[in-house]
């Protein structure tokens, strides 16, 4: 069509690299590399743990970081974020996000305090009602996402506002203190077990986190439900055409996230002896950070529960060792940011296994 151009174009440096072929490695090396990336967060956890021991201050000949009191503090401090992160992992695996979990935690904390202190309810009915509220709140969000096809980011952003609003209305805007005893305006003594520990070593919240983490790990490993979760995250349309009950799984996943956020809220109230509507602000972002450090892709379809648990612990140890060394609070924030980016960058390097 055109007259041939008189000169042949001299070439600039390559603009598109040749398509990357899957990296092939000898079988055993291959397996090592693969498991490194698969358990990146675990290696990260061990690395951070070792570093923490190395840089910990020593007092009276004892490594402060390794002291039993300190380790117990760490696991207790991460247990709420960890439990939320477990629920968040399910949501992110289906390619969603749940921004409402922090607010649901606040709502649950307020609910626990109000039901026991103002309504004089026992511990068991309180816990059941609050868990139900959390699950129902999550399920409602899931149903809106599934039915109306609105992105979960938007729905749960709205849910965040709504849950905070409900919590403020319910509490009258005030933190509701929890005092223990048998009288009116007092909560049953047994609720204070949440701020205690087993044999004075393992804090109860940490035990709950452990139990829920292991339970979720098994669910994700072995159930048909988990396969459906991964399938929806991998290719929602293909999953639907394959007969996966996409809506039901969606609703269930968001209900789980809400339920676990409510559980974290109950623990929160039990640990702090108060339910405040402002509790849990920003926790959703910490939970997402734990999931991302755990190697779960925000695009959905790939990730693991073990990674999330390791990610939450890693964040906890990081917070602790920075504080033990009196690193400035503002520098701590920067360090946490760098760790999140590093974890995500590491995932990008993961070779696609042929």
């Amino acid at each position: 069509m055109n007259p041939p151009s008189p000169t042949v174009v001299a070439e600039a440096p390559p603009e598109t690299p040749p398509r990357r072929r899957p990296i092939r490695l000898p079988r055993d090396r291959h397996a090592i590399v693969d498991s490194f990336f698969r358990f990146q967060s675990l290696f990260g956890l061990v690395a951070v743990f070792v570093i923490a021991i190395a840089v910990s201050p020593v007092r009276n000949g004892e490594n402060v970081f390794l002291s039993s009191g300190n380790l117990a503090n760490i696991v207790r401090a991460v247990s709420e974020i960890g439990i939320i992160a477990v629920g968040m992992t399910f949501v992110i695996l289906i390619g969603g996000i749940d921004l409402s979990v922090g607010a649901v935690l606040g709502l649950a904390a307020v609910g626990s305090a109000t039901l026991m202190v103002d309504s004089g309810m026992g511990v068991l009915p309180t816990v059941l009602i609050v868990l139900f509220i959390g699950a129902a709140f999550g399920a409602t969000q899931g149903a809106i996402v599934a039915r109306l096809g609105i992105q979960s980011f938007i729905v749960t952003l709205a849910g965040l506002q709504a849950a905070r609003g409900i919590a403020r209305m319910w509490s009258g805007g005030l933190g509701i203190p929890i005092a223990y005893g048998d009288g009116p305006q007092e909560a049953p003594e047994s609720f204070s077990v949440l701020s205690g520990s087993i044999n004075g070593i393992l804090p109860v919240p940490a035990l709950l986190f452990l139990a829920i983490g292991v339970g979720a790990l098994l669910v994700l490993r072995s159930t048909a439900f988990a396969r459906h979760v991964y399938a929806i995250g991998g290719n929602e349309k293909a999953a639907r055409l394959s007969g996966v009950p996409v809506r039901r799984v969606r609703v269930t996943v968001f209900a789980i996230a809400g339920l676990l956020a409510a559980l974290a809220g109950i623990i929160h109230a039990g640990q702090l002896n108060q339910g405040s509507p402002n509790d849990g602000a920003g926790y959703e972002l910490d939970a997402i950070a734990a999931v991302v450090i755990g190697g779960t892709s925000l695009a959905g379809g790939s990730g693991s529960m073990g990674g999330t648990i390791a990610g939450a612990l890693l964040l906890g140890i990081l917070n602790n060792i920075l504080a033990l060394n009196n690193i400035d609070a503002n520098v701590q924030l920067v360090v946490k940011g760098l760790v999140i980016v590093a974890a995500a960058a590491l995932q990008k390097l993961r070779p696609r296994i042929a």
Partner: protein, 512 residues
Amino acid sequence: MTDSPLVRMTGIGKRFGGVHACRDIDLTVRAGEVHALLGENGAGKSTLINILSGVITEYDGAIEVSGRPVSFGGPAGAQRAGIATIHQELDLVAGLSIAENMFLGREPRTRVGTVDIRRMRRQATDHLRTLGADLDPRRLVGSLRVGEQQLVEIGRALSLDARVLIMDEPTAALADAEVERLFATIAELRRAGVGIVYISHRMAEIEVVADRVTVLRNGGVAGSVDPKTASRDDIIQLMVGRSVDALFGEGRNEPGDVLLDVRGLAVTPRRPTPGRTEPAGVDLSVRAGEIVGLAGLMGAGRTELLETLFGAGGSGRRAGQVTIDGRPYRPHGPRTALARGVAFVPEDRRGAGLMLEHSVTDNVVLSALSSMTTLGLVRRQAVRRTVAGELRALAVKAASPAVATATLSGGNQQKVVFAKQLLTRPRLLLLDEPTRGVDIGAKAEIYRLLHQLADNGIAILLASSELPELLSLCDRVVVLHRGRTVAALPRASATQQAILAAANGDDAKEAR
């Protein structure tokens, strides 16, 4: 054609790790010639094309354009040298309009420097008209069907004023009428002196359109033939390295009772979607053990009909009666369809059929998971056994069931989709373009599989844009036009002409 060729590639080789993707390939493209490139998947076509289009910059051998040696630093360099490529996977931005896509990155400007939208639209319309496509350039590409998007791609290449045009399976998503128009365009380009590298799996097209055929096998040139003199069997033999007997089987069992019966099916969508043709009066029936073909032009509503029958179509008011085994059948979704023994292999394998990043196992078991679980827990042994058996039965070539499905070839990916659907033990199989993008060897295996399934009493409703495929495979061909069934041709009376006439609405003027 005595002048020096537009493109001369000599001794081209490329290695990925230890694997020769290409070795010592010579290829010339002359002005005004259509040079067809044939070969099974993995024969080296894509690599060769990627080298010529500047995607791969490291290779052995030399390339000359109009007699001058060149070395492209990237696709942009190849484009500046006048080599345009229409990739099989469409490189379009769904959220932009047709015109914006065509001129992406080189938008015409007005004097004040803003984008000259009018000129852009006018030129886009002109290029599409050349292709015989009458599309509003303001429409979003995302609202177009796959075939229409491909026309936009071709239009974009035309707008580049390319001297060499590489077409990688340009007709894969086109219905026959569009193919005719494309061929007219190719003839036009050829007269204008454009050299065309044409890649296709469809033998019939090659015979019509190509001046020269080069067959690749295992990364090398297996032979170069003149399609006017060489027989189809010769070419196939060059491709697969052995003679292929009877690609299209004959002699089938007698069909059984009517399994699927559709009377007056019509869907009035709640919100009409541009580019979708919902069923608007469909009558057909499929008997057990029968293969019924679904023909029609692009946009005739074949995909939409299959989706509706699978409960995966758009929502809307439904009229008419559908029965399976004489009992009413109104699927609310894929789950109810699967529960009634209806399975569906969608047209868009990557987008709707598979989770590409997940393992073959995960994909295969997805639909039939409930048969491998106890109290919600997956029985790993059962999964392993079932998957192994199914992969063996369908001769799926994969390094292991644990590899990502994306690493499989197109044909094997399609077999994985089949395996997934067959595991649900369906009685009615709905197939939408089941051999698209599949090389000729895998195609033959899929044909054999379909015959075998039909012989086992499964009813098959198959939509295809390839008339030869329909004619050779099907017991009957039902033709759709604008969402209505306009003809049902038994095998004996079905010919390409009859199908095309019906598909063009020649018998259905009253429908307008």
